[in-house]
């Protein structure tokens, strides 16, 4: 790699990062608006207009940026920025709009699923640290709840990610099974047998239930719990710092949605329709946005409208016992798919029944 190439890569990264920052924030806020509108309709309200999140951010920018006297100023200010920045960097590694991830296509440097898992922790971590740094009892309670929630949901999340990669590593000819380009190139739905299919559905279901906690949405929003601890870890935040957290939430929704799409629905419309060049790109982007919409509708909007908030120990219990078991069942299904189904697959069942 000579100097020119390094410079070229560097410029690509810089431009890509800039573009993604803008796209991520705009699309994230847009989906937030859609989510609010649909939730309102479900509850029989008219709801705010789609551009309401943008207005909210503008309003927050105008408000005063209060730094409480109990806060550690530099940690208090740095936390929201770090959270937002880390969230946007995840977008670099995700395949957006059906294209390979930015870092995949252009340069050799790639990130993998474990990296995304860890980067996803940083925004939550930033919220926790910000909450702790506010020096207010409400914020502290909220922050420690967020941390407990994080411990809780990472267990099933780890199961999902490791199971998928493990199953993929058994497929002939795959290398780098943790990289998203491999995962999107070989969708598991077509590879596994019937039992594995059930396992995948279970894992998808688990991931859908993990998502609201990752985004601290109802029913897993006890860290914020407006009615009991008055906004929890965000209680001391105001003005532009709060706006940063607001944006983080929007971008993170986009990230989680994209992750689910990439892991479970990496299909594109254009090969099916036989399209090429610009039309293909446009169709793919539209299709991707539609997929994203469905995922967010199910994993965020529907759940948050229909279920009431859980207590913090219930959250931990939910994730560590029923959901972990569910994830493990999914994993076991995938494992058995490999051993049992090759011997007792559809073919042999049909044989046994005398159909063939």
């Amino acid at each position: 790699m000579n100097f020119m190439e390094i410079a070229q890569t560097g410029i690509t990264i810089i431009i890509g990062a800039m573009a993604l920052a803008v796209v991520g924030i705009v699309v994230g806020l847009l989906y937030k608006g859609i989510d609010r509108k649909i939730a309102a309709h479900m509850q029989g309200r008219i709801g705010p207009p789609l551009r309401q999140p943008f207005l909210d951010v503008r309003k927050l920018f105008v408000k005063e940026n209060v730094i409480p006297e109990n806060a550690i100023t530099w940690v208090f200010n740095l936390a929201p920025i770090t959270g937002l920045v880390a969230t946007i960097t995840i977008l670099l590694y995700l395949p957006i709009g059906g294209f390979p991830a930015l870092l995949d296509g252009i340069i050799v440097a790639k990130g993998d699923l474990i990296l995304i898992l860890y980067l996803l922790m940083i925004p939550s971590l930033a919220m926790v640290v910000g909450g702790f740094a506010s020096g207010s009892p409400y914020a502290t309670i909220g922050a420690q709840r967020e941390m407990a929630t994080m411990i809780a949901y990472e267990f099933p999340l780890a199961i999902i990610i490791i199971s998928l990669s493990w199953r993929l590593s058994l497929v002939q000819g795959t290398t780098h099974v943790f990289s998203l380009s491999t995962i999107t190139a070989t969708p598991l739905w077509g590879i596994v047998g019937p039992l594995g299919f059930i396992g995948l559905v279970i894992l998808l279901l688990t991931l859908v239930i993990v998502t609201p906690a990752e985004l601290s949405k109802i029913p897993f929003d006890s860290p914020e719990a407006e009615t009991e601890i008055a906004g929890g870890l965000l209680v001391e935040y105001s003005g532009r710092n709060l706006a940063m957290f607001y944006l983080t939430d929007g971008v993170k929704t986009l990230v989680m949605g994209t992750l689910i799409v990439a892991l479970f629905f990496p299909y594109n419309l254009s090969p099916l329709l036989g399209l090429e060049s610009y039309t293909a790109i446009i169709i793919d982007i539209l299709f991707f946005l539609a997929k994203l919409f469905c995922v967010i509708l199910f994993s965020v909007t529907l759940i948050r409208v229909s279920i009431a908030r859980l207590k913090i120990d219930q959250i931990v219990y939910t994730y560590w016992v029923p959901l972990t078991l569910l994830g493990l069942v999914g994993l076991i299904c995938l494992m058995w798919d490999q051993t049992i189904m090759t011997q007792f697959g559809m073919q042999s069942i049909a044989n046994m029944l005398g159909l063939i």
């Binding site: 550690i72 702790f132 780890a158 490791i162 199971s163």
Partner: protein
Amino acid sequence: MNFLDQLLSHAPALLVAIPLLGAFLTPLIGRVNDKLRNIFVIGILGFTGILVILLAQQIFASGPITYVFGSLDPYVGKETVIRILFEIDALSIFMAMIAIVLSFSAALYSWAYMEKNTGLDKYYSLLLLLTVGMLGMVLTGDMFNFFVFLEITSIASCALIAFYINKVKSVEAGFKYIVVSTIGALFVLMAIALLYGQYDALNIAKLADSITFSFVDKIALVLLIAALAMKGGIVPMHMWLPDAYSRAPASVSLILIGTTQAGLYGVFRVLFTLYGNVITLPTISMGWALVILGLLTMLVGVIMALIQIDFKRLIAYGAIAELGYMFLGVGTCLTILANPDITLAQAPFAFEALKGGLFHVFNDALDVGLLFMVAGAVYYATKETSLNRLGGLARNMKYTTIFFIIGLLAISGIPPMNGFASKLLIYESTYQLNPILSIIAILSSIMLLAIFIKVFHAAFLGPKLPQFDTVKEVPRSMLLAMGFIAAFIIIFGLFPDLIVNTIVDPAANALIDNAGYMRWLIGG
């Protein structure tokens, strides 16, 4: 042959001889001047460090070195190998680097940290002796020598743990440590005697060459593994570790990490090299034993750490959890090696796991070391270790806070710190043995994050507490020591590929390359 070559050719002996000599000179120099003594100790350790680096360069370039004491030839007559010799391969020098980095920064840190104590001449002597013990354990190629250095390490570290002799808890911790480590060492000696009785040799290479895995060998294996794992603080034999780490002065806790890791080195050496030729024979693979002990270590470590309220005790449990990762990584490799149906080439993940485990040894020493130094700094500034009484220190101790954040991110493996690189290697290889292993490893890493975030809140964040109004930032020597380790953490984190290729990969290769270790014995 110029002076440098001369020096280098005797470097293995000098590595042990220089700190040993320094240890006994320290009290003499201490009579002259305290400052001179500190400079002397740091100089001795710095010089040893340079020798380690020079030797490492040579070994990475041209393979293992056999240094025979008192002769050029390890043989007496044709068959007998009774000479004491140092057998230094890439793994030994890798461990020696860890030991020397830790002791050097501990000496630097002690300058200000221990300044107000009396009996410092003895303290520095013991510190150098402890370094001798650690270096000897990792460099030696002789089982009995290993035992002697093990005992030197135990005695020196026991005396250092009980350094605050007027505090009864320190004495208690020292007593527990010496009981546990003496019993461990006696069982090691018993195992050595068993092997010696059978094969008439004490040399590791010679023993490894002739071992047959007879009834007696099995007993010896169990005694060695159990005793050395106890020295390494593996659950459920870990209970001495939090006692010892939390009651010792912070600078001593820092070196104690090195001694526990020397114990782990013993485990790896025994399993891979001493029993390397008969690795496939145990009925249940020892690799699975290591993996399961590793998982237990992780889980018990994190759960116990989460409920601690004493700063150093909490870090000690965190350190235990980290030890589990090493066992997991190395154990995964061992299961594959021990499986006669699969060769290492068919399962490339096993080697990756081994690299991850060994890389994590270094990373753990750095991360936990930094955190112990931060805990010591907080104690130095506030005279308080209970997290229930601390708070709001980020205002007064800005640099310490930044170092703590670095340590926190590193130990919980948040990118881009060094902990992430080694954990990534472990996660992305062990899952192929069994997915559950990786899942539990990820889970404990997240719990480690929660543990240290709790410390971050309790000690550094929160409102300004009136009792800590006058707290000042710690002296420069302590900051320098913390910065030294933090620099390592950041470099290891930013260039993982470079580090893995230059030092970890040769070490991992040396561990599985039995023929290379016995090169002088089987011809060459």
